[in-house]
């Protein structure tokens, strides 16, 4: 819950509602990007960026190396699996399906 998980923003889901699609190790879901969006800039400037996702909200933009290192730590301490499971199965998001 508090550690979050890194994901890569792959698409804008709803510009007005401030929602983007994030890919977290192959699982996709929409996340709220209010906290990482640059005011008045279009959301597609976020596409391709890595973010730290906490309970459905992108909370921090991170670089790719940081994302990889964080995923490694989460895997090692046994939190990545729990977070991925919650993300995939606890979610009602229609986009929360494994990426093709």
């Amino acid at each position: 819950m508090c550690l979050g998980i890194p994901g890569r923003i792959v698409a804008v889901a709803d510009e007005e509602a401030m929602l983007c699609v994030v890919d977290v190790s192959g699982v996709r879901r929409t996340v709220d990007v209010v906290c990482v969006a640059t005011p008045d800039a279009p959301l597609d400037t976020l596409v391709g960026r890595w973010v730290l996702v906490h309970v459905g909200f992108a909370m921090s933009v991170i670089d790719e190396d940081e994302a990889a290192a964080t995923l490694k730590v989460l895997t090692e301490i046994g939190e990545a699996a729990a977070e991925m499971e919650a993300l995939a199965s606890g979610s009602l998001d229609p986009l929360a399906t494994p990426a093709a």
């Binding site: 819950m1 709220d32 906290c35 991170i62 490694k72 301490i77 993300l87 606890g90 009602l92």
Partner: protein, 374 residues
């Protein structure tokens, strides 16, 4: 140093441990007890145990595991309130999975669900809002808990519900804030902590400025830390260097994620939606002034406490439990008479045994290297 070779940069880890040992040796003269460094965040506690960092430290330095696991500090009475709301026929009670097994005075949310209450585990408060939109005939209540890390997510969900006019969604707000809690701990007469490892993701939201009083008023160092083993060792070394120099400053080891000013959009939402409660009760710690928040008047329509009557009865922790002493660093988990016997991760009495971020569950799972409890 048997685990060090597994770290991302084993050479750096060895250098850090050597430095920590050297400082410890220099500080040893005239010292009759170890330097107690409290990591506030439950995620740090979990990482410290998983990587066996305690075993790398000299005898003169010890981690004390602080109250930063939100599930662990939830009082029984609030769990009872959750159950009371969840058992109403019209309610769908949505919660993070972590909270399902926390014991109330009679049952947990998991037991209430087994008995027929409509309790749903969700990943995000946004999923609870979706549930509300899909079930217009039901009342969907989201159980909001956590420190400043999760607070923006529920605040932004309430703002979204207000914007979209979703009337059957409400929040049972049990959020807590870190600053009044640290102040309450520091104000205890017998609080024997020499320095702090500051929480990483709480600080990502609030920044580093709010910790300043810890250095200015209480003359203790605090270093905000990341979650990798290297981060924790480096942060510990930074704390010890301050102690050796006789300094007390707020430093930021996790600057790659934590900006000095925090996250402005997250803070704006939090301040828009929440205001401090006069006081809030914590499991094991009692009531702490200003440590909880509730919904501000303009968002009262989304406040589950106003929408439903909740029992709001204070329930004492089991008398034999020592959760409070463990949370404040006054006792190690194995000093509790119930540890590992009456209280285990499968059948927890106290919440510190429920979450993987709780000190007791961590000691139980990985074994306290000095307590040899597991």
């Amino acid at each position: 140093m048997r685990f060090v070779d597994e770290f991302r940069d084993p050479a750096l880890a060895k250098t850090l441990v050597t430095e920590i040992e050297a400082i410890s040796a220099r500080l040893e003269r005239g010292r009759d007890r170890p330097f107690a460094i409290m990591e506030v965040c439950g995620g740090h506690t979990h990482a410290i145990f998983r990587y066996g960092l305690e075993g790398l430290l000299p005898d003169l330095v010890e981690f004390v595991h602080g109250p930063g696991c939100p599930v662990c500090v939830l009082p029984m009475g609030r769990v009872d309130d959750c159950v009371a709301i969840a058992e109403r026929d019209e309610v769908i009670f949505a919660t993070f999975g972590d909270a399902m097994r926390v014991p109330g005075s009679k049952k947990s949310l998991l037991q209430a669900k087994a008995e027929g209450a409509d309790v749903r585990m969700v990943y995000s408060p946004l999923d609870a809002l979706t549930l509300a939109k899909r079930n217009p005939g039901r009342q969907v209540v989201f159980f909001g808990l956590g420190f400043e890390t999760t607070m923006p997510s529920t605040a932004l969900t309430v703002l979204r519900a207000a914007r979209e006019g979703v009337q059957n969604f409400s929040l049972f707000c049990n959020h807590i804030t870190i600053i009044p809690t640290l102040r309450a701990l520091l104000s205890q007469a017998d609080f024997g902590i020499d320095g702090f490892i500051g929480p990483g993701h709480v600080s990502m939201v609030i920044g580093t400025e709010p910790y300043r009083f810890i250095a200015d008023e209480f003359a203790k160092p605090l270093v905000v830390a990341g979650f990798e083993p290297i981060d924790l060792l480096q942060s510990l070394l930074m704390v010890l260097r301050q102690i050796e120099a006789g300094e007390a400053r707020i430093e930021n080891q996790y600057a790659r994620v934590v900006p000095t000013q925090g996250n402005p959009a997250a803070l704006k939402a939090v301040h828009e939606v929440y205001e401090p409660r006069p006081t809030f009760e914590w499991r094991g710690l009692g009531s702490i002034a200003g440590s909880g928040v509730c919904l501000r008047a303009p968002y009262a329509a989304f406040d589950a406490e106003k929408r439903f009557s909740v029992p709001d009865v204070k329930v004492a922790d089991p008398a034999q439990c020592r959760c409070g002493a463990v949370l404040t660093g006054a006792a190690k988990p194995w000093a509790c008479p119930e540890f590992g016997t009456g209280c285990t991760p499968e059948t927890p009495l106290g919440a510190l045994m429920v979450s993987s971020e709780g000190a007791c569950a961590a000691y139980y799972q990985y074994g306290g290297l000095r307590g040899e409890a597991a």
